[in-house]
Symmetry: C2
Subunit: 451 residues, 2 copies
Amino acid sequence: MTIITGVDVYDVRFPTSLSADGSDAMNKDGDYSAAYVVLTTDGALRGHGFTFTIGRGNDLCAEAARQRAQPLIGRDVDEILDDLGRTYRELAADSQLRWLGPEKGVVHLAMAAVMNAVWDMAARRAGVPLWRLLVDMTPEQLVDAADLRYLSDALTRDEALEILRSGLSSRTARIADLEDRGGYPCYTTSAGWLGYSDDKLRRLLQEAVDEGYHHVKLKVGADLDDDVRRLRIAREVIGWDANLMIDANQVWDVPEAIEWVGRLAEFKPLWIEEPTSPDDVLGHARIRREVAPIGVATGEHGMNRVLFKQMFQAEAIDFCQLDAARLASVNEIISVYLLAHKFGVPVCPHAGGVGLCELVQHLSIFDYVAVSGSLENRVTEYVDHLHENFVDPCIVKNGHYLLPTQPGYSAEMHAETIATYTFPTGSYWSEASAASLAAASVGVPGSVSTG
Amino acid sequence: MTIITGVDVYDVRFPTSLSADGSDAMNKDGDYSAAYVVLTTDGALRGHGFTFTIGRGNDLCAEAARQRAQPLIGRDVDEILDDLGRTYRELAADSQLRWLGPEKGVVHLAMAAVMNAVWDMAARRAGVPLWRLLVDMTPEQLVDAADLRYLSDALTRDEALEILRSGLSSRTARIADLEDRGGYPCYTTSAGWLGYSDDKLRRLLQEAVDEGYHHVKLKVGADLDDDVRRLRIAREVIGWDANLMIDANQVWDVPEAIEWVGRLAEFKPLWIEEPTSPDDVLGHARIRREVAPIGVATGEHGMNRVLFKQMFQAEAIDFCQLDAARLASVNEIISVYLLAHKFGVPVCPHAGGVGLCELVQHLSIFDYVAVSGSLENRVTEYVDHLHENFVDPCIVKNGHYLLPTQPGYSAEMHAETIATYTFPTGSYWSEASAASLAAASVGVPGSVSTG
């Protein structure tokens, strides 16, 4: 018998604000961060998971994850991993922690980090990548793992089973199909951060075209004239056959979103992403009606499955961008995929940040093989940042994620990364702090953001 | 010039789980807690605020409040208090902390704690109770303080001003009217916790009737037969002219809520409270359509103004139960009152917990005097717990909150309370821990919950 002996939690922060990587109209100076969880056992088995934040407060998620994981310690690994639905429900049932959400914010991000580590451990125990673990599960096993609470007015357990059973016989053929295609299709956001100059934008867009991308995404929403100029550059570089997406990162009220997007319609964006508050189901529905045929996309801040249920019920979105580290891990994500399929909305997961690309590649493959059976209107985000910190980084070629082959959820970070970027004790931050103090002592403005 | 010199934050927990006070179908063993904030200055002025939780994770809120408050330290008190809208927006604009919500969960609870303390300080500086500070503000000042972001599709700034201007000339008369009535009407939940025996229920209901209450509330949702028996007892004691409310604390899916409430309809409840997920706007709207004429109430877990906006737009609720420590203080609460008034929904604030009664009495008075001008269908929750821990506790007589008279937001706790109940170092918890260890060492099951 193998026992879970502990949980190690790390507050890992990367100084991305120095290069304006990740800058947008709402978030100008993020330091991409992960509250990183390692579940340890008395054997060789480990489980790695994380949630993603942009700096300050990452310590709150780390501490919440430590508290969330306590019920796992001392338990038999097989008991925890043989019924992942029961394990999830046991952790979620802590009514004191639940009060702090419920099912949203820091405690939900922490639930994602912990259960992502549990799923990583389950895939490692089975010796397969997570996507393979999922597509090898029966419809009953998947539905038992899914969190269907509060969803039965939109999706019953029987409907969920029916969706999964209908695609069961063709799973093997669809895996082969993905391998033939060179993986799962993706798009790039690496070119379009708001803090980049026009020259850098033009160069990166050309690189994206050269690398085989048919979709690129630009940040908008800070200044209308800037947006017009940048979208004109984008169309000059990528032409009119490729797809151009725009992302406002929640800066607008509903009427403002409708007017602003109307002014950008000439550039024929495929979607406007996060036009307003991520909580505003009815607001998104109205924006969608008024900016059609431009699609509406949201989800990276979609707090839980109840929000997505309503987005589908209200016909509020054309693209569902669920987040692998904000929803409470695979248990909740299965439910959102099933809901999306029932309502006919394609899922194009949010990625980027720290390690989100590593996670979502597994989810997109699962969706195609076991749930939707479709690639139509589906494309998964890819951002070329920070992959070097992962032991099993995602591999993108010709605008496709290659199918992961190593056991687990691709969530493990290098030991050197932890040693360097753990905040504030890692070598990077302690040296930055020393340099900042030294600069201050000689009257030079501190040149280092300390998160 | 007076300067804000620091923020002291306390993780205060009361061992309420020992007596089943506060027990309901979702939360069986809460230890009522407050993440308590004291803003200090280099003068005598202080600001006291808190958010409310039920135990574990209260430390997360306390630490988040400490981080939230940092931008206030070293600042001129007058600069911070003369423009409370600007102060709120400055704290809310921290994009790194925003990422952890946005505007929900731990970071939003922490925002409530900090800005509650700022409003307390503002009322103390003016030498008046908070409700008086608010009703002495001009419509322009109130709208400038309100957080109207993401609301303009439902409420414009001009509409907000118009609402406040229309009642301006009669504010003085309505204050006098409240004084004549003996305060603001309230109802009691003290009788109806789920963990109480039938005998205790019957006794407490009779006491409520004797004390002049016309509204009582019972917890439901754990067992249908129990609910039928308890509601029968309630009607036997209070008769059919008094109002009976029921509260399920989010335990049902939407179809289950409709069916269960239907089985309790014979007891003619005024409202069903929290029938399902607090995030489910469309679910509440459907429940409301199907259980009419029983009303639907929710809001104690209403995460922010965007959720309430949608509850009103979707005609999902008959009673709005906003929470003074979950919404981000008076700044966000003003907006919800204005929205509620525009959509014709009465606000009956959630209270109980730790100190929520102390806060909401000010808000209800503000609503009557400056916003709605109505008491119709309005009744504010009152729970007779833990008031002895406050320096200026609310006073309830004949089913009415008396108008507070002391300066501030009634949020200050006694120093002895802090010394006793700060977790885990306060005298209560350190002794409980010692007793628990002693019991464990002689083989007796630990009788003390340690939160």
